[in-house]
Structures are given as structure tokens and as C-alpha cells.
């Protein structure tokens, strides 16, 4: 379980007394890494630094001459703006709901698919499909084909049981966005958890069965602890993507009816309101929120990774 099992190959060959030669070798080892590293720093880190700088300016793109330094005013405005605070809340609610529900549904489906039954491969393929529809197309499908109050499939099916014919998007806008995202993300959770289930120690499971453990006991004391890492990984990878969701909010409600999340709000404040400074401040706040999630995410992935490296 230690990092020593993965000792660098290169060091074995660097035991040369000449220090300049050693340095040369170290650079030769590093060289293949540099293009990717430099590219990432230039394309992702530099723009972010620029965002931080812009966030301290009062800058409306329509009045570029009036641009001036305002210190933390943008941040104060962002934090006191009711709409923006609402979009923070929407982002949290959207992310937590979608991740939790799709995780629970995904676990259920993974447990079912872990069993042997006729046509399991077909069912698996059917279940993966929602994750493979282009996000904008999926959002259009829910908006027009399922939710439409007059000819959508949901109300069409309700017609047969004589149920009500609600206007889903107007009545429950956030729920409508969440349902479409849960539909798309449940397969992702299922895939990760299924991989987790299939990596269980079969001998241990067999031994527990022989010892007379019930199905629930085996799930509670063997499967669930084993799955913990996979559940965490699914939750955190899901959070990273859903916190940043733009496609569903943009397509289904266009941010209306109180469904604007932070990415949509940032997009709107610079793309439509042309408030560069405010948008940047909001963007920086999104990053701070993401860093909090990312710290957890990195810790989980890192522990999984260490386990993997230790096993190798």
C-alpha cells in the first residue's frame, strides 16, 4: 500500500557521478510531459487569472470607455443580489437532488444487473442509452416530446388512465430539469457501481453464503462497504459535471421560472447583459465553490488511486 511499489524506472539509470549528465537525463525524462503541461497551463490557467483580474473592474462591454477599477464591489454586488443568491441555491439543489437520486436508482439497477437473467446484455444496453444521447438532444426530447402539455408522451399516457394533464415545465420547472438530468445520469452511476459489484471478492461472498448469511446481511456488511468508494467516486464525478450543467437549464427553461443555476447566470450576465466585471466575479465564486467540492473529489480519487497503485 505504499508508493514505493511504483518506484520510477528512470532513477535506476541515473546513478551516474556526473551531475550535468544527470540533469540532462532528468530533462529527457520530463520532456514528453512538457507539451501537455504547458498547453494546459496556457489554455486553462491564464484565462482564469484574467477572469480574476476582470472581476475587480466595473466593466460593461457596451460602455468600454467607462471601465474602471472598483475593488471588491462586484463581489459585494454578486453576494447581495437576490437573483444571484437564488441561483446559488438552485445550483446546490439541482446538483444534490440529481446526484443523490441517480446514485440510488443507479445502485438499484446495478444490483439487478449484477444477477444473471435472460437478456441481461440487452437490458444493460437499453439502460446505457440515455447517457449516450447528446445532452442538448436529450433536453429537447424532454422539453418537446415528453413534457409538452398538449401532445407530450407523459400527458398522452396520463390520458389513458384518465389522469390530469399538467403543464410540467410551468408547474414544476426545477423538477422538470432535474428529472431529465436524473434520466441521463442514472446510467452513468449504474455503470460505475456495476463495475464495483463485479470487483467484489467472490470467495469472500461464497464463504459468507456458506456461513448462512442472509441476502440482506451480505449486502449490508460486505457489498455496501466494498461499494463505498465507488459510490463516492460516482457522487463526486457526477457533482463535477452537474454543478457545471448548462445544456439542460438553457434548453428546457432558458433559465426562467427560477431554474437559473450559476453557470447559466454567468453566461447570461456577460453574454446578454454584457456585465463583464459582474460575470467574472460570479465566475470566480463558482470556482471557489468548485474548489470545495474538488478538494473532496481529489481526496477520494487519490485514495482509490493509491489502492490501485498498491495492488499493482
Amino acid at each position: 500500500m505504499t508508493a514505493t511499489t511504483t518506484a520510477p524506472l528512470a532513477t535506476a539509470h541515473v546513478r551516474t557521478p556526473d551531475p550535468s549528465k544527470a540533469r540532462l537525463r532528468a530533462w529527457a525524462t520530463r520532456a514528453p510531459l512538457l507539451p501537455a503541461l504547458i498547453f494546459m497551463i496556457v489554455v486553462t490557467q491564464l484565462p482564469f487569472v484574467a477572469t480574476v483580474v476582470i472581476s475587480f473592474f466595473d466593466w460593461n462591454a457596451l460602455y468600454p470607455k467607462a471601465r474602471h477599477f472598483t475593488g471588491v464591489d462586484n463581489y459585494r454586488e454578486v453576494l447581495t443580489d437576490a437573483d444571484l443568491r437564488h441561483s446559488v441555491w438552485t445550483t446546490v439543489l439541482l446538483t444534490v437532488t440529481v446526484v443523490l437520486v441517480s446514485l440510488v436508482l443507479g445502485l438499484l439497477l446495478a444490483l439487478l444487473l449484477d444477477r444473471r437473467f435472460r437478456g441481461r446484455g440487452v437490458v444493460r444496453t437499453l439502460l446505457i442509452a440515455p447517457f449516450l444521447v447528446v445532452p442538448v438532444a436529450a433536453a429537447l426530447l424532454w422539453k418537446h416530446v415528453l413534457y409538452n402539455p398538449e401532445y407530450g408522451l407523459l400527458n398522452g399516457l396520463l390520458h389513458y388512465v384518465g389522469g390530469p394533464q399538467p403543464d410540467w415545465i410551468s408547474n414544476t420547472p426545477l423538477l422538470a430539469v432535474e428529472a431529465s438530468l436524473i434520466w441521463q445520469w442514472t446510467p452513468f452511476m449504474m455503470l460505475i457501481l456495476l463495475a464495483g459489484l463485479q470487483s467484489r471478492d467472490q470467495q469472500q461472498m461464497e464463504a459468507a453464503r456458506v456461513d448462512g448469511a442472509s441476502g440482506w446481511q451480505m449486502f449490508r456488511y460486505l457489498t455496501l462497504p466494498h461499494l463505498r468508494r465507488y459510490l463516492e467516486l460516482g457522487a463526486l464525478l457526477g457533482s463535477i459535471y452537474i454543478v457545471q450543467n448548462f445544456d439542460a437549464v438553457f434548453t428546457i427553461t432558458s433559465g426562467g421560472l427560477g431554474t437559473a443555476n450559476l453557470p447559466y447566470t454567468v453566461y447570461q450576465s456577460f453574454y446578454q447583459a454584457h456585465e463583464n466585471g459582474l460575470a467574472s466575479a460570479a465566475g470566480v465564486l463558482v470556482v471557489i465553490g468548485s474548489i470545495i467540492i474538488a478538494t473532496f473529489a481529489l481526496r477520494v480519487v487519490s485514495s482509490l488511486f493509491r489502492e490501485e497503485a498498491g495492488r499493482a
Binding site: 437473467f117 438553457f250 453557470p263
Partner: protein
């Protein structure tokens, strides 16, 4: 529990799995069916299951009905996805080599730096990128998207590929070296054959993410460099009459991703979990 009740229970759960599979697939099946209906049959309540099939929706979508042609957008998406995937591979392969086979010092730190960039929200850098593009006349230019998609997928690719390359046994590489093989030979003859399925899976996932991307494309392209997802946003306010066309469009745009995803279901999991789950 007797074996007969256990069998019955097993069959029952199999049926539940089938049922849930069908429920999840139903929207897609319905979208496919609707895309082959006439607009009049598509927009009925209750839904018309047995209506006559027609290719009108597809004809409309492909522009013979008078609307804008989707071909430029589809071609742009293909160019952006393929070119960025190629660049990602060119940058990620050497990096993964340095992080797995001939390891640089502090290789885990470098690996986590790559992952951390993935957690930086797109909106955090969008405005400076937009301003830069505007001032350098790069707006509405497909190659700007190629660069951004490369940066979007490179961290994932580096992670996946280092985990695939790390699976190449050190002993084989050492043996080849002792036999006098030099680096290019080792890479081509030893590493590549073992890592090839992994490299293919990486390429596939990069292609899918680039093909799906909306926010960058929406903000940075216009008429010339519009991608397929941006073309689809034209249907957001579509009212009533174009249901079959919307379905046809959504299916056509999703087709490459659906095909690629089905073809590589297993590798997809490993890739999406950054190689952490095998």
C-alpha cells in the same frame, strides 16, 4: 429458501430489470417512432402508436423542406471532434509515457494537476477567451473550438492513458531493453500493442465529449463554425408543428455518440471514472 422459490425470485427480479430497462429506453424509442411520423400524427393526444411511417421529418431536417441545411454544422462538429481528439492523443501519449513508464519525479502531483483543471468550471475562463477571440478575429472559427476541446479532454486522456500504460508489465520493457531494443522499438513493439485498446477507448471518449459540447460552441461560434449541438438549439422554441423534425434532428445528431458508446460499453466505464474503476 428452496431452490424453486429462489428460481422464481430470480426470474421475478429479471423481469423487474427488463421493465426498468424499457422505462429508461422508452423516451428514446418514442423519439425514434415520432421522427418517422408526419407532423400531424406526431402532435396528437392521445399519442398515435400505429400512424403511417414517413421520412418527412428527416427530409425536413436535411433541408429539402426549405429550412437551413444542417450539413455545415454536422461537418463542423466532425472536424472539431476528430481534430481535437487527434491533438489530445498527440499530447497525452508522451505525457502518459512520462507519468507511467518512465516516471518523472512527483508524478502523482502532476497527475492531480491535470485532474484539477477538469474541476475548473468552464464559465471561469469563458469571458477572457471570448474577449481574446474577439480581439484576434478568432470568433466563429472552428479551430478555436479545436484548441478548447483539446484542453477540455486532455486531462481525462492523460489520466486514462497513464492507467492503461501502467498496465504494461515493467518486466517486459526491461527484457526488451536488455535485448538491445531502443525506445522507439519498445514503444512500437511492446507498449503500443498492449495499450492499443485503451488508447482507442480514450479517443472515443474525447470524441464523444467534443461532439456533445454546447457552452463554448454557443458563445464562440456563429454562422460559419456552428456545431451540431448549437444547430439543435434552434429548436428550443419550436412550437407545435415541428415535432417529427425535432426528433429526427436529435436522433441524427446523437447517432455517432450512440454508436460509439454501444461499441465500447466496458471501456466507457473505465474511461469515465478516469481509470480508477476497472
Amino acid at each position: 429458501m428452496s431452490t424453486i422459490t429462489a428460481q422464481r425470485k430470480g426470474r421475478g427480479l429479471g423481469l423487474v430489470a427488463w421493465l426498468l430497462g424499457i422505462v429508461f429506453f422508452l423516451p428514446i424509442a418514442w423519439m425514434a417512432l415520432t421522427s418517422f411520423h408526419s407532423e400531424a400524427d406526431a402532435a396528437t393526444n392521445p399519442p398515435s402508436f400505429g400512424a403511417a411511417l414517413t421520412l418527412d421529418g428527416y427530409r425536413e431536417f436535411f433541408g429539402t423542406g426549405g429550412g437551413a441545411s444542417p450539413w455545415p454544422a454536422l461537418i463542423n462538429s466532425t472536424v472539431a471532434s476528430l481534430a481535437s481528439t487527434l491533438f489530445v492523443l498527440l499530447l497525452a501519449l508522451p505525457a502518459a509515457y512520462a507519468l507511467s513508464i518512465r516516471r518523472v519525479r512527483k508524478w502523482t502531483d502532476v497527475l492531480f494537476f491535470f485532474l484539477s483543471t477538469k474541476m475548473l468550471p468552464v464559465v471561469a475562463g469563458l469571458l477572457p477567451i471570448y474577449l481574446f477571440a474577439k480581439n484576434t478575429d478568432m470568433l466563429d472559427n472552428i479551430w478555436l473550438l479545436v484548441i478548447l476541446y483539446t484542453s477540455m479532454n486532455l486531462p481525462i486522456a492523460v489520466w486514462m492513458m497513464q492507467s492503461f500504460l501502467a498496465e504494461v508489465p515493467v518486466a517486459i520493457i526491461e527484457a526488451a531493453r536488455v535485448d538491445g531494443a531502443r525506445l522507439p522499438t519498445i514503444l512500437a513493439r511492446v507498449v503500443a500493442p498492449i495499450a492499443l485498446p485503451g488508447i482507442a477507448a480514450t479517443a472515443l471518449i474525447c470524441f464523444i465529449f467534443s461532439w456533445n459540447e454546447l457552452l463554448f460552441a454557443r458563445v464562440l461560434t456563429g454562422v460559419v463554425a456552428e456545431t451540431a449541438p448549437v444547430f439543435l438549439t434552434g429548436f428550443i422554441t419550436s412550437q407545435g408543428l415541428f415535432l417529427a423534425k425535432v426528433c429526427a434532428a436529435s436522433l441524427v445528431v446523437s447517432l455517432p455518440v450512440l454508436a460509439a458508446g454501444f461499441a465500447a460499453q466496458d471501456k466507457l466505464v473505465q474511461g469515465l471514472s478516469l481509470g480508477a474503476v476497472k
